[in-house]
Amino acid sequence: MDEREKIRIMVAKPGLDGHDRGARILSRYFRDAGFEVIYTGCHQTPEQIASAAIQEDVDLVGLSCLSGAHRFLFARVVELLREQGADDIVVIGGGIIPEHDFPSLYQAGIKAIFTPGASLESIVAWIQENVKTGSKNE
C-alpha cells in the first residue's frame, strides 16, 4: 500500500462518560480498515482532544458520547480546532444522539453522525469517501 494514502484518525470520548466499549470496537475496526488510530481513552475535555488532534496531525476526529452532553462537547471540539487554525480536521460524532439534535450539531460543524444501528462498514466507507487522504504538507 502506498503510504501516502494512510488515513490517520483519532477516536475520543469527551466528558463524563466511561462507556467506551463502542469506541474500542470502532478503533479496532478502523485498524482493520488500514487506518492509523489514536485512541485517547475516556473522560477527555474538549481542550485535551483538540490539542491532541493537532499534535497528532490527524485527518479526522471521531467523538463518542453516550451521556447526553454531546450538544456542548461536540460543538466545543469543532470550535477549538477552528480557533487553532485546524478547521481542516473533520469532526464526526456518534453515540446516543436524538435525531432532533442533528440539525444543531451539523450547524456547529459536525460532518456526520452515527447512532446505534449504523454498520461499521458504513462508517469506514464514509471516512474513506470524505477524508482527504495523505500528507497535507504538499
Partner: protein, 343 residues
C-alpha cells in the same frame, strides 16, 4: 504564474515553515512529522533547513516488553521534567498490523493529562513495517522536536522482544523496563535488549519475584568486563503506582539517574562515539532516500519492478544478480569513482 516565481514562493514557504518550527509552532511541526512519515520529498527540504538547529536535546529511550509500564514511566518522567521547568517532546511508537497496514496508537492514553500543557508535545508513530522497535520516521521526528527547542525528548519503543535494539542509535540514555514474573531473569543472561540498558528499571516491584530479578540482573552486570565510561547501569525499583508518594520518590530517583548518565556522557568520549554512530546512520538513511528510493520508483513506473519480483518468486533470477543489473543501469562504470573523488 511563471515557473521561477512559483519556485521562489515555495522556497519562501520552506523558509517560513522552518522558522515556524524553530519558533516551536505545534501545527507546523506535527504536519512536518506526518509528511516525513509519508516520505514526501518536500519534507526533506524543510528538514535540511532545521538540521543546524538540532543537537541540543537530551534524548531518552524507554524500552521493555509489552505491558511493562513504558507509557506510565514516560508519563511520570514528563511530570518530573516539567517540574524542573524543562520542555518535553514525546515520540510513542506502536506497531502497524502486517496484514492491514492499520495501527492502534494507544500509548497516549497514559499521558493525556499533559495534552493541554504547551510545554509538552506528544506524537504517536506507527512502525509501518519497520523492524527494530521504532519507525523509519523516528530519527527525523527527533530532529523536528529538537529544532522546536524541546529540552528533553522521550522515545517510547513498541513493546519489544529480544532484538529491538535500534533505540541505542537514537537515544543518549536508554531505560530498559523489566517486570517480575515474566521470565526476565533468564532474559537477563541473553544478548540483545539486556545489553543496551544504561539504566534498568524493575517496575511493579511490589510483586513477587522482584528481589530475585534484581539479584540476577546485578549478577549479570558483575560479569561485565568493563563499563564504557565507567557507568555501571543502576537497577532501580519502581513500585506501586497507586501509592503516589512513594511512586513519585522512585521516579525522582530515576530522573536524577538519567540526568547523571547524561552528564557523564556529555563530558566523555561516549558522546563522540554515539554521535559517530548516529552520523553513519543518518548518511545511510539519506543515501537510501537519494539513491535507492528514486531507483525503486523509476523501476515501479515502467513495470520493471513487478517483472523482477516475479522472476525472484519463480526462482528464475536471484536478487543479487538483479541488483547488479540495476546498479549497472543506473550507476554506469565510472560513477563510483566520481562519487568518491569529486575533484
Amino acid at each position: 504564474m511563471s515557473k521561477p516565481a512559483a519556485k521562489m514562493s515555495s522556497e519562501l514557504d520552506e523558509r517560513e515553515r522552518a522558522a515556524k518550527i524553530i519558533a516551536g509552532d505545534v501545527r507546523t511541526a506535527s504536519r512536518l512529522i506526518r509528511a516525513l512519515e509519508d516520505r514526501m520529498p518536500a519534507a526533506t527540504t524543510t528538514l535540511r533547513r532545521i538540521f543546524p538547529h538540532t543537537g541540543r536535546a537530551h534524548i531518552i529511550g524507554i524500552t521493555g516488553s509489552p505491558g511493562a509500564g513504558k507509557s506510565t514511566i514516560a508519563d511520570a518522567l514528563i511530570e518530573s521534567y516539567r517540574k524542573l521547568g524543562k520542555t518535553v517532546g514525546v515520540l510513542a511508537v506502536d506497531p502497524t498490523s502486517p496484514f492491514t497496514g492499520g495501527a492502534i496508537l494507544g500509548d497516549r492514553i497514559r499521558m493525556q493529562r499533559h495534552a493541554e500543557d504547551a510545554g509538552v508535545f506528544i506524537r504517536s508513530l506507527a512502525t509501518r513495517g519497520s523492524l527494530g522497535g521504532l519507525s523509519h520516521a523516528v530519527g527525523d521526528a527527533i530532529h523536528v522536536l529538537d529544532a522546536m527547542g524541546k529540552d528533553i525528548i522521550l522515545i517510547e519503543t513498541v513493546g519489544t522482544g529480544q532484538q529491538e535494539v535500534e533505540i541505542i542509535n537514537h537515544a543518549h540514555t536508554v531505560i530498559v523496563i523489566l517486570v517480575p514474573g515474566m521470565g526476565d531473569d533468564i532474559q537477563a543472561m541473553k544478548a540483545g535488549i539486556m545489553e543496551i540498558a544504561d539504566i534498568f528499571v524493575i517496575n511493579k516491584a511490589d510483586r513477587e519475584g522482584a528481589k530475585q530479578l534484581h539479584g540476577i540482573v546485578s549478577a549479570m552486570l558483575d560479569l561485565a568486563r568493563e563499563f564504557p565510561g565507567g557507568w555501571r547501569p543502576p537497577i532501580l525499583e519502581v513500585e506501586n503506582f497507586f501509592e503516589p508518594t512513594s511512586f513519585r520518590e522512585r521516579i525522582t530517583i530515576l530522573q536524577q539517574s538519567v540526568d547523571s548518565h547524561y552528564q557523564l556522557m556529555a563530558g566523555s568520549e561516549l558522546m563522540e562515539s554515539r554521535l559517530k554512530r548516529k552520523s553513519i546512520l543518518k548518511l545511510n538513511d539519506a543515501l537510501q532516500a537519494v539513491l535507492i528510493e528514486p531507483v525503486m520508483r523509476d523501476l515501479a513506473r515502467d513495470g520493471k519492478l513487478e517483472a523482477m519480483i516475479g522472476l525472484i518468486m519463480r526462482k528464475e533470477a536471484d536478487p543479487y544478480s538483479l541488483a547488479e543489473e540495476i546498479a549497472a543501469r543506473y550507476f554506469p562504470a565510472g560513477t563510483e569513482s566520481k562519487i568518491m573523488a569529486p575533484q
